[in-house]
Subunit: 440 residues, 4 copies
């Protein structure tokens, strides 16, 4: 059967009646339980010449409360960990997981692990935070994570599972991105190897929106909103100076989604540079000439550059990796600023160049209402999955439906902008930049 890779792993038979009172009767105005047989299609593209979609690896299990659960709520010890860089909505997800465990299922032992996977390591000496509705009640109003975060340590799987065993944790909610979820996968496999009954539920967090099998990552919308504010300031600076050129560096190590969405939203960007699309600086079809022409014509310009763009221009000979295992990037923003500055000097054009890097201000902001709703629902559905005994999976949103996705699938490759797709087409139209700035 071709859907095998999408099958969600279970810790065992769910044989306990859920405390949630719903009804599968219709027309009684009461919601029903979700069954493991409720599935949706992932890829909605029609197979040409048919009225059907592709069927290979295309069915996803719907999320939601099951009528029978695996864990006895009074015996559950749940743990929550937040890893990697900050992202709007972390506190909302924590809050939702705690509220759902406590109020919906009656779980009373919930531990917050401090500062990412590091909090599991004895050497770190980071005591857990006991979580309950009082503790989390107002945390969604603040950015960041009340648990703190840190990068890496996901590879110290043995010690982490030792720690889970020692603490008698029955459910681990790991909130994090690609690196974190690769860690979750290894942890899950180690748990399985040891024959433990610990559910590992990932909640995908990536401000760059670069995880596959998730329609939109939480915090992304808020990040774009804040980025638009920064671009608006950059535009003002550019317009008010003589030949003003503002360069705004936005997050996006391997995917330019924030840069692309910000550019469409703000209507003020003239050049958007993303990791997915190479570009030349010099030559008749290079960025610098196009920039000069724009400045001569309109007296100002705004450039948005994703942090992972144009890495081919930077000498990365000594490039190391950060604690999350990400390749350390050269700073394309400062490099661009320098190159643009030299170029305009060489062209004897008096230009005023401003460089703005709003990254910390973007990522530490509190979730906006759209992300707040999304985080609440992600957290709730993560709890439903965990209590039903699912494991080694992510909770996700696909085609506007909350679903379960095997972690393996989501970390196989990164989600990137298709330079030949609709989003990038609309960016090109919004900025008016050449479709490709490469000399032949």
């Amino acid at each position: 059967m071709d859907t095998v890779d999408f099958t969600i792993q279970n810790l065992g038979v769910a044989s306990i009646r859920t405390p949630i009172i719903l009804s599968n009767k219709v027309k009684d105005y009461v919601a029903g339980y979700v069954s493991d047989n409720d599935m949706i299609i992932n890829d909605v593209t029609r197979v040409p010449g048919t009225n059907q979609v592709y069927t290979k690896k295309n069915l996803l299990e719907k999320a939601g409360p099951r009528d029978m659960i695996y864990f006895d709520p009074v015996k559950v010890h749940a743990a929550i960990v937040t890893c990697g860089g900050l992202c709007p909505g972390l506190n909302n997800v924590i809050r939702s997981v705690v509220m759902s465990l406590w109020h919906v299922y009656g779980v009373r032992v919930i531990s917050g692990i401090r500062n990412g996977y590091r909090g599991f390591l004895p050497e770190s000496n980071l005591p857990v935070i006991e979580l309950n509705p009082d503790v989390v009640s107002d945390i969604h109003k603040d950015g960041g994570s009340i648990l703190g975060s840190s990068r890496g340590m996901g590879e110290r799987v043995t010690e982490i599972v030792d720690s889970l065993e020692r603490m008698n944790v029955s459910i681990l909610f790991s909130i994090g991105g690609d690196g974190t979820q690769k860690g979750s996968l290894s942890i899950s496999e180690e748990i399985s190897k040891r024959g433990l009954k610990i559910s590992v539920i990932g909640i995908p967090k990536t401000i760059d929106n670069d995880l596959c099998f998730i329609q939109r990552s939480f915090g992304f919308e808020t990040a774009v909103s804040k980025a638009v504010e920064a671009v608006s300031c950059a535009h003002t600076e550019a317009r008010c100076a003589i030949n003003g050129i503002s360069i705004v560096k936005l997050m996006g190590r391997e995917s330019g989604f924030i840069a692309a969405h910000t550019s469409i939203a703000s209507n003020d960007v003239n050049f958007t540079l993303i990791p997915e699309l190479p570009f030349d600086l010099d030559g008749p079809n290079g960025l610098l000439v196009h920039l000069k022409n724009r400045v001569l014509r309109r007296k100002h310009a705004v450039i948005v550059v994703a942090e992972g763009a144009g890495q081919e221009h930077l000498s990365n000979d000594n490039a190391g990796k950060d604690a999350s295992g990400n390749t350390l990037l050269g700073d394309i923003g400062l490099y661009l600023k320098d190159r643009v500055s030299k170029y305009f000097k060489s062209e004897k054009i008096d230009a005023n160049i401003r460089y703005i890097d709003p990254s910390y201000i973007i990522r530490s902001t509190a979730a906006d209402p759209g992300d707040s709703i999304y985080c609440t629902r992600l957290g709730t559905n993560a709890v439903h999955a965990a209590m039903a005994g699912k494991t080694n999976m992510l909770v996700s949103l696909i085609n506007n439906t909350f679903v379960h996705v095997p972690i393996q699938l989501a970390v196989e490759k990164r989600n990137t902008i298709d330079p030949e797709g609709e989003l990038w087409r609309d960016v090109i139209q919004a900025t008016g930049q050449p479709p490709l700035m490469k000399n032949v």
Copy 2:
């Protein structure tokens, strides 16, 4: 063939090469043209026991630039009209339509019709506004519509089409909700009857999110954000008074989407009342008793009520219709305030009741960045459809893909919250209210 009802009508054969330079080659970093054969599935639910979805009426034509177009840009006279109540994003859509027509296709004659369909009627004496990039450049920063709006007149089809003929309009973009699009349908039919070659492209606008065949209506996200602010104030007022009870009336005539989303986002709401779910006020399972218990237990309460909720409690004997054809609703907010007030007096509980109606403040606000992106892309895709000679259709977003939808389909019935579905289940969980407040 079972997809017949989804077929998009064309004015004729598209035989002019588009001025947009794209490429259907792969790996050349240039986006491709979209074909009428590119289709997606609408309903993603799996047919139980199969790996497939339902095939009846389930394929939608993808939106986007076609390689061949119907209209010669230099001969096009486009008209834009905005109808009905204000909604965040109207100016963004207008801006996007004008920018796309002008910069992408080279159209130079674009008329803004003033104050809705009324602007077509000679008696109104409302001159059109000549639109171009200079005029629309900054309008997205403001709420409302630079064209103004008004309700009704969509039934004066003959005169409107007379006016379109007189003005030699080739494309009409009608931005509006259910009533407006019913008007668009009639106009389109009258055009067809007269054998005219005028494309009618609807851009669905409904702050209530109550149109079918659209994943999310523009302005909805912004409206929820503003509603969350109002609820936050209501919550503060309630908490700071002795037995404080705040009642917030939100928009939602036939659908409680704004009320539902706001309740999940704000985490402060205790009772959400929507048109889709009847409720009793009195009796052992009525709202008033539940409210009293909440107030006695927690000393304050917040109620969010959609304007169309609980109409069964209001005597609508003389209920008329407004100019859009909507039934005039009794004011459930004031009614609730009065009933709650009397009830607490009769129970001899000293309660402080505040009533907040933020509707005008919500609907006249400027679009947030998320809606800004969406409006830009809706407008662009509307222009692609129009230039290709499509007509009698709406541009829409389904499963995160921009598509074409026959107007007929979208206005057949209203989109409402399924009280047995996932959204409402999550609202019940967020508020902690009884699933159903009805006495047997």
Copy 3:
């Protein structure tokens, strides 16, 4: 001596050395103590023909830390009460008082009285809230008051002082407006009569800015900011409708400061109506004719009306008083809406009238940074005054200097807009309305 009325009352000789380490040496980069002899001029107007100001009742004692204090911090029991309507900044003031008492002076017993003066009355059964830095640390991010509030009860002086005695309160911080401070005065007098050593320090709170001897009341700036947002929405609504007229009712029972400042800030208001200036509705120089002319000329209009304006048009025969002793006002907003509506019907002009009352949304908002700074400094200076044994006084800001003001002075009369002064002159210029809309 003509400054007698400005003399601040002391509980006794301040004979304890303050724990605050400052230095009156100059050029040592350390701030100095403030002395009771440090005074500033209140009224800065020059006496014509001289180089001096008026000297009668014109000197105010500067606020700030004294080198000798009256109370022994380890024996102090401080109480804080917030009374009357909500106002941005209440939590900031509470926070500042607690932080200053705790961290600066080492006071460890601080009680928050619940729901205004009512919290002192045994019948209310409202337990006090124990306050300390942990409790107040984040409260400034929220609107409202963590202590709650209520109107009235200030006249039950005997019981309140009984309660203060029973609790062994040494300092009472009363945060409230005119009615509250009249209560503080009576309480202070009763304390004096009983020979108790309880300091009563008022912190003036009036969102209407209607207290005398205070340059600007806290929360006022924030209130104007939120009011400007509401007016911006009203303007959008008016512009987008055919002959759109928006009426915004703002707070201001006896003083139109919010209405006046909002009108200048927003640049969108055409008519501002305040309690200080009578106006006619009918007749050749009445509001209605001027409004009609404006609408005919510009197609829309925005009216801002303070809640206390135009009371002469409302029949107040049965007007009672609210619990704060304020005369209950007729609703000028609804009255205006009704009169404008009838007038335009009688003139056969199709007008679209919207009525917006954003009061609850304005007053329950959190303090903006400007008010945050101000509240912090008011609270700190209130604590300095209390610890020094001052009583029966308000802490205030005059000519940008924090000062002590006898309560008696501040409650003698209300602060109002001088219709012949500079502020109103600038409003008239901003709105373009006739200086006086009265028929002779």
Copy 4:
């Protein structure tokens, strides 16, 4: 006479009746004209032992409309120029000046000079912008200046006055800071030398608040609000990392007002560093040790540093000057980041250091409502002064009264924070930092 230095210069006798209809009658509800004899006291401090203030150089002429004016409105050509760095409120001031000239006095020729004083120089080839109510109507919603700005050129006095003569300018409004106003002074003197009748009215603009004889500079309040947002993000970043240390650099070349106000407003700052107060980094009473102790105790810290602070730590041997004549500063923010980083490494403490520089985002933002009111009133009063024939003066706010100040006075010295004054005392209390971090 000891007020001589405060005397405002006039171009000649004001002999034309103003078109503004006011009335000096009392109780007629109509504002009166202001006379040159209306004066207020500047320094409100009491002379010890008296009931009076100091009289030397202490009287300022009140601003406002005079009954007789010098210029005939129909013959006036007014010019407006904005110089130096961006500051919130520039567009509001421009708008107010244009609206007042046009609507209040009937002036019809108003030129906007492009890009600062540079716009006067023929070589710049920058055409003027013709200003009128239509052009400026909505500009206050945007940050920046529609005229653009640039630094310097104020010393090319002869050419600027040549240009004024050539253009027949009768009034020059120069909006700018210390450098700009020194330019205005020279221009004014050159005009006087040539016997021209050109009024030069300065409108003080300094986001750093470092001009004397002005209670508060416009844009300052907005700047602090934005800075508070950045600090809030810095605080979140610091709290969520292991031993997180955030360093925020704020504007303030010679005065730490933004840093000081932001620190009080945000309640999250632990160390505030300003130009007025030297500090050591090393040693037992140096910043680094205090920072380490804070981090060990509380696990995170936030440092706010004004750009001009700690310059003694940077080697400025080659320090040049920017085009405004300001000494180029070393980057204290990056220096601190580097020193803190090295110190914690040497102490073997694993610290996470973030550096945030939000300057461009702060200065290019639009004015908040408080600044909007202030800018409107500054602009109006500048116009009244100009039309009355005043020259070589600034319009200013002192003791909450709009006044006229000779430019000479305002540029004599910079306004700085008194480290022994009340503001800094309150900062020390808010941050809890040592009063002085200097080793003896």
